[in-house]
């Protein structure tokens, strides 16, 4: 905040609005994303035509990277709740410039998670059956309802604090088409910057922040129940809910750090997203990683100590067998090592902490894979009288392309949102400055 104190209000406006336009580079980037997306879409169309047989899935390992990716996206979307709601309600000041970034990521990941689950369906043409015949007892129905609720609440939580800024956009953005200005005007709902209006916004934002906490916990808990509510050894675990939620915070914090780094560099926000923010986010990451390590120890050590008959096979293949390489790389390289590094202050500077976050994010993705896939390779009864390939799962090109497509879609949504709206809340920054002066 120090560096901002000398800045005039008009300067803050122009600096924070500088990226709200359709520059050449942003157009090229969007065109590139669209192109890649089109290729991925081609593979999805193939899948619709030929059935899920284009994937590497089979009767025994019937959930693969689509489901792991779904879990990953739901996990990443939880960060909106942690940063804007939990820390926001606790009155933590430094999150002000990054809370909108967290909200943008939450919206993008949650929206695309909903689509990812559709790509896993054998009959996407029967999606409406869930409305026609939905059974309230099924965890899938719970999951769909909470994900939709979370998307809605997150959109509102993104939109509400944006209203004053939309008004500023309408007046002060340059080089945007006229209809975009009109959209700002409509969306800003006749905002006139009166104190009563600010009161209202703050009040309703607070209500939303409170509401979103249980819903966010619910989406990931219910997602974990898709596994925990089955009788499979290895999934049948009562701590799956908190285990997933704590993992989600690690994933989301890493994603936010990466986004912060790109915005800071490319949108010229050095004075707003400062080194201090990276340091703080690094510390937050240490905290959530510590909690996650704790749950990992519980989840792995407890059954490994007892080696119950059903679990023994899967555990030994994970710890020392077929999946052990990935397992140890994820646990040590993707969690313990980054955690230890982040304890060092120098490692929490923008570039190192961003690199560490990329590693954590990668590890987090493969961690979801390890939760979903290996357990299915060891059902209670032996896998017999089927082709050799059914013993293990190897994703196909189509499957990988469709999964990449979902990432491209997240990037597209994030890009478009951050080109349409200021990623740092203008009025909240100014308000904060007023307080300090």
């Amino acid at each position: 905040m120090e560096s901002l104190k000398k800045k005039e209000s008009a300067r803050i406006d122009s600096e924070l609005l500088a990226h709200v336009n359709w520059s050449r580079s942003s157009k090229i980037w969007i065109a590139f994303l669209l192109l890649v997306f089109a290729v991925c879409l081609y593979y999805y169309i193939q899948q619709i035509k030929n059935g899920l047989g284009v994937t590497g899935l089979n009767d025994f390992i019937s959930w693969g990277i689509y489901i792991s990716n779904f879990v990953f996206f739901v996990a990443a979307s939880l960060i909106g709740m942690l940063i804007s709601s939990v820390l926001g309600l606790a009155g933590v000041k430094w999150i002000k410039p990054i809370s909108r970034i967290a909200e943008i990521l939450a919206v993008a990941f949650a929206l695309v998670a909903g689509l990812v689950i559709i790509t896993d369906m054998g009959r996407p043409d029967r999606l409406h059956h869930i409305l026609l015949f939905g059974r309230i007892q099924s965890p899938i129905v719970w999951d769909i309802s909470v994900v939709i609720t979370y998307v809605m609440l997150s959109l509102l939580l993104l939109y509400l604090p944006l209203i004053p800024d939309l008004n500023v956009c309408k007046d002060k953005c340059c080089g945007i088409p006229a209809f975009q200005r009109k959209i700002y005007k409509v969306l800003s709902l006749g905002w006139t910057h009166t104190p009563e209006q600010y009161q209202l916004i703050k009040k309703f934002t607070r209500i939303l922040m409170v509401l979103i906490i249980p819903v966010a916990l619910a989406i990931h808990t219910v997602t974990s129940w898709l596994f925990a509510l089955t009788l499979r050894a290895g999934w049948d675990s009562p701590i799956f809910g908190p285990y997933f939620v704590s993992g989600a915070f690690v994933t989301g914090s890493a994603a936010v750090i990466i986004a912060m780094y790109f915005y800071r560099r490319n949108f010229g926000l050095k004075d707003y997203i400062t080194e201090e923010h990276f340091d703080k986010m690094g510390k937050l990451l240490v905290l959530v990683a510590l909690v996650y390590v704790y749950f990992n120890i519980n989840e792995i050590l407890v059954p490994a100590f007892k080696l119950k008959s059903g679990e023994a096979e899967h555990l030994s293949s994970m710890l020392t067998g077929h999946d052990s390489l990935m397992f140890w790389m994820v646990q040590i390289g993707g969690l313990i090592l980054p955690f230890l590094l982040l304890l060092i202050k120098r490692m929490r500077r923008p570039l190192p902490v961003t690199i560490i976050s990329v590693v954590i994010l990668l590890g987090a993705w493969f961690k979801r894979y390890l939760i979903v896939v290996p357990i299915q390779q060891h059902p209670y009864l032996p896998i017999q009288n089927v082709p050799e390939e059914f013993m293990y799962y190897r994703p196909t090109l189509a499957e990988i392309a469709i999964t990449c497509g979902s990432f491209v879609l997240v990037l597209l949504i994030v890009t478009i949102l951050s080109k349409l709206f200021p990623v740092v809340s203008i009025w909240e920054i100014k308000e904060e400055l007023d307080h300090e002066n």
Partner: protein, 299 residues
């Protein structure tokens, strides 16, 4: 299922049978307008229909007319969903008699339009290390009384009927495969691609109790041959076994019949005298399939 190469005369008599059987015709989507072939309309195009005893026959399309089949579909659906009142079907599998002949698997795959790698019933080679014993274990769906697949299905596409049979409605299944994940017995299989002989079965009306025709992108599994059981016959696998491995019957009557010897015995004493067990009882699924141990006690 064999595709009977019907001669003209036998086709004729079949058509008459079909015509007389009244309500039985409901199992086909099409109803005959007359029992005679109409030469004016040209006999060039033929249609395949499934007869009541599950033979696929070709008949002249001119001799049939489509029915406003909504009511009949609803009837079929209702019948398939409700099951037979007052029954509780059970199977007993005598492991000491299984010689891994796999006649059960073959007849099952033929009846249910399954590919070689798709199993409603799968004969597994088991090794009991504690007793140094190897044996073959046929494993159909266990038709649990507390079925995990039914609890998780989001659209009620897999359900438990009053007669204990767990079925799949492949016109409703959305292909989420949650039931496959939930089943501890790996009893379910999926149509990852076009089902076997999809062309041949294209025009056949869906019979939920047989789960044929199979549909791409939906799940399928053992149905305890609900279609045969309704007609008072033993399931496909049970009657195909040459070694007397299977018993099938009604627990309410306390009677089961051996598929090979046709001998009917009291269920409770069969289970008690032979130390019957169910698979993984600790999971609380309460299977309707009982196993008699691979080696007779004291033998």
């Amino acid at each position: 299922m064999e595709n009977d190469p019907d001669s003209k005369s036998s086709r004729r008599s079949f058509l008459q049978k079909l015509g007389f059987s009244g309500a039985g015709v409901l199992s086909a989507p099409l109803v005959l307008s007359s029992c005679q072939n109409n030469p004016d309309k040209g006999g060039a195009s033929t249609l395949k229909v499934l007869t009541q005893d599950n033979h696929l026959v070709e008949i002249d399309s001119a001799s049939i007319r489509p029915v406003a089949d909504k009511a009949e579909r609803e009837y079929l659906q209702k019948k398939g969903r409700e099951g037979m009142p007052g029954k509780k079907f059970v199977m007993v599998i005598d492991l000491s008699r299984c010689k891994n002949e796999r006649a059960c698997m073959k007849s099952c795959q033929n009846a249910h339009q399954l590919k070689p790698e798709q199993h409603h019933i799968n004969v597994l080679e088991m090794h009991d290390e504690a007793n140094g014993l190897s044996y073959y274990m046929p494993k159909p769906c266990q038709h649990c009384d507390n079925p995990p697949c039914v609890s998780v299905c989001p659209v009620d596409a897999t359900f438990k009927r009053q007669d204990g049979i767990v079925l799949v409605d492949n016109e409703r299944c959305i292909g989420c495969r949650f039931c496959i994940a939930a089943c501890p017995y790996s009893a379910r299989t999926f149509n990852w691609t076009e089902p076997r002989d999809a062309e041949k079965y294209k025009d056949i009306s869906y019979n939920m109790e047989l789960n044929v025709p199979q549909k791409k992108g939906t799940v399928t599994k053992c149905a305890f041959s609900a279609d045969r059981v309704r007609k008072g016959q033993l399931p496909y696998c049970v009657s195909a076994c040459p070694n007397g491995v299977y018993y099938f019957g009604d627990a309410n009557e306390d009677l089961v019949t051996n598929g090979t010897t046709r001998e009917t015995v009291r269920l409770s004493s069969l289970l008690k005298d032979n130390f019957a067990y169910t698979l993984m009882p600790e999971l609380g699924t309460k299977p309707s399939v009982y196993y008699l141990p691979p080696r007779k006690p004291g033998a």
